[in-house]
């Protein structure tokens, strides 16, 4: 019965299988993968430049519809231009900071908001999963809605919390715009966590559950000694997906709420100012790439601390 449709979770939740390859060969394989992986990224750049060199200047259209991009320097700048732009000053002003410094600043801001959203989302997701695990009625009432909410573009509400800032006030507490952004981010983050955690908490087979029953211990002890440790392999990919979602939510919400200071806002501002400065719109994209990777990487590091719980179960 634990076979619930798990949506996005399935995309990353490979059943953990312990590698049986000998250490030495596995190191060679790892090196090979790393080198080829980097080569793959370089290859994307090479294809970009090759198309830019060979493709038609105005792109390729069938009738009115353009299906291949324009290759002029304004639309498709050289990759070198994108990186060079990072090292140049942000604006024409003489005291302007460098572009990369501005990007790093904006990235830090967005990453902070995303982290707040992630923590709220993870907390809510875990609590929901616990309640659903404990009470069957709660699970049957709530789970369909959680699954449903993953299938619909609920993030569309992002522009609608725009005016929450400065309009909501409880006593001394003033709702600020960045909180709206963090809220949207947490909203996207909690879905995968609640479903991944529920699947994980339900993952011990009857064999284990009955063993704990035979020990005569209650729900809480079973939770801490069996269900939570068993849920780790399911939880880690969910946490990672939640991190990616929090970043996406932050960037989208920054754009639609109009919060200044973060990467999302920078993407929109620089896109408008692209005329004559083709490298500029790419700078915040590198920032977005960086926070996506940092967020996912941070969760991966977190995963290192719980490695023992990720040992593949053989036929134990």
């Amino acid at each position: 019965m634990t076979q619930t449709p798990t949506q996005q979770f399935d995309a990353v939740a490979a059943t953990p299988v312990r590698s049986t390859v000998a250490p030495k060969t596995s190191r060679i394989v790892a090196w090979r993968r790393t080198i080829l992986g980097v080569l793959g990224i370089v290859l994307v750049g090479v294809m970009w430049e090759a198309y830019k060199f060979l493709g038609p200047d105005k792109g390729f259209s069938i009738g009115e519809v353009i299906i291949l991009p324009r290759t002029n320097d304004m639309s498709m700048p050289h990759i070198a231009t994108m990186f060079e732009r990072l090292t140049e000053p942000l604006t024409g002003a003489s005291n302007s900071i460098l572009m990369w410094q501005a990007v790093v600043e904006a990235s830090e801001f967005s990453l902070y908001v995303a982290a707040v959203g992630w923590i709220i989302g993870v907390t809510v997701g875990l609590l929901l999963a616990l309640v659903m695990q404990r009470f069957r009625t709660a699970q049957s009432a709530v789970l369909p809605w959680i699954i449903l909410s993953q299938t619909v573009p609920l993030i569309a509400i992002a522009p609608l919390v725009r005016r929450w800032g400065a309009q909501i006030q409880f006593g001394d507490f003033v709702w600020e715009n960045w909180m709206s952004v963090a809220l949207i981010a947490s909203y996207l983050a909690f879905f995968p966590v609640s479903i991944g955690a529920l699947k994980g908490l339900n993952s011990p087979d009857t064999n284990h559950v009955e063993l704990f029953r035979s020990f005569g211990v209650g729900w809480w002890k079973t939770l801490f000694k069996l269900r939570i440790p068993a849920s780790i392999p399911y939880l880690m990919p969910a946490l990672q997906l939640a991190a990616a979602n929090a970043v996406i939510g932050t960037i989208v919400a920054e754009v639609s709420i109009g919060l200044k200071g973060g990467i999302g806002r920078m993407v929109i501002e620089f896109a408008g100012a692209a005329g004559g400065d083709p490298g500029k719109p790419w700078a915040p994209i590198f920032g977005a790439v960086a926070i996506g990777l940092i967020a996912a990487g941070a969760v991966a590091v977190l995963g290192l601390f719980v490695r023992r719980y990720r040992r593949g179960e053989t036929n134990a």
């Binding site: 284990h208 036929n315 134990a316």
Partner: protein
């Protein structure tokens, strides 16, 4: 707390049997009101220190009977007591240890930590746990593997860890549901020998579910033969091949062993019995 229990246990009259089943029956609610009778009119007494095997074809309810004793399921009729208590109380008092067909080890715990799990759950102190797990590791011959993880062990070794775990709290009753069912024949015979040895040392009563006739005969004082759907006791064979300590590989080639095997087989196939065959199609 376990120490105290043990004292209480020894001061009790040793005449209280380990398990007493009186007219026990179990009916499972099936689909659309259909009811499946798994067990009917089970009358069985397991004495202290006695090794009793439950044998029968698939679906005869032998595992169900063991689960009733373990209070993993509840009987729908009749009365079941374990050491004079209700099955539930016996479970809460940890009167029994249990082992399943799957070893059911927790993959994130080392072998030693797996053995110590029941002690840890019942708040036994760290040094006492270590002492006990060391004893058990040597009893099942895994002293060198305490710090290994289950996935580094063979199936037979995992099952030995599971048995050690079931012995952790020195129970006076061991419940085993086809613990060697997933092992190959050679490992299986070896494990049977070890189990006989362990039983002679611990002096616990054992209820052992199996569908292997030689296994049942080799290990048991008595073999209970169950008929399928509804599960009833068709016959109880007194094997009487001597104490647990005498069960060595020589026993497997003895005349008395073969005759006991034949007797159980005849009861199992119902050839000498008036009870109708029912749906036994093995």
């Amino acid at each position: 707390m376990t120490d105290e229990d043990e004292k209480n246990m020894t001061s009790e009259p040793t005449t209280t049997p380990a398990v007493v089943a009186l007219n026990v029956g179990k009916v499972f609610p099936g689909k659309k009101g259909a009811r499946v009778t798994a067990l009917e009119e089970i009358n069985l007494t397991v004495a202290r220190g006695e090794f009793v095997a439950l044998i029968g074809p698939s679906g005869c309810g032998k595992s169900t009977l063991m689960r009733l004793i373990a209070d993993l399921d509840q009987p729908t009729s009749g009365e079941l007591t374990v050491f004079g208590k209700t099955a539930k109380q016996a479970r809460l008092d940890q009167e029994y240890g249990i082992a399943f067909q799957q070893a059911g080890l927790l993959p994130w715990r080392t072998v030693r930590q797996n053995i110590e799990l029941p002690l840890e759950l019942h708040n036994v102190g760290k040094s006492a746990r270590t002492t006990r797990s060391s004893e058990l590791l040597s009893l099942v011959g895994l002293t060198d593997f305490g710090d290994n993880f289950p996935d580094q062990l063979s199936g037979g070794m995992q099952q030995r860890v599971a048995i050690a775990r079931s012995l952790a709290e020195s129970p006076n009753l061991l419940l085993m549901d086809e613990p060697f069912g997933a092992l190959d024949e050679m490992t299986r015979e070896h494990m049977q020998g070890e189990l006989a040895h362990i039983c002679s040392e611990t002096n616990a009563a054992v209820v052992f579910v199996t569908h292997s006739i030689p296994e049942a005969v080799f290990l048991s004082h008595r073999v209970v033969v169950l008929s399928p759907r509804p599960g009833r006791i068709r016959a109880i064979v007194n094997v009487g091949l001597g104490g647990s300590s005498e069960r060595t590989d020589h026993l497997r080639e003895s005349e008395s062993f073969f005759s006991a095997v034949s007797e159980v087989r005849e009861h199992l196939h119902g050839t000498t019995d008036a009870v109708p065959l029912g749906v036994d199609n093995r």
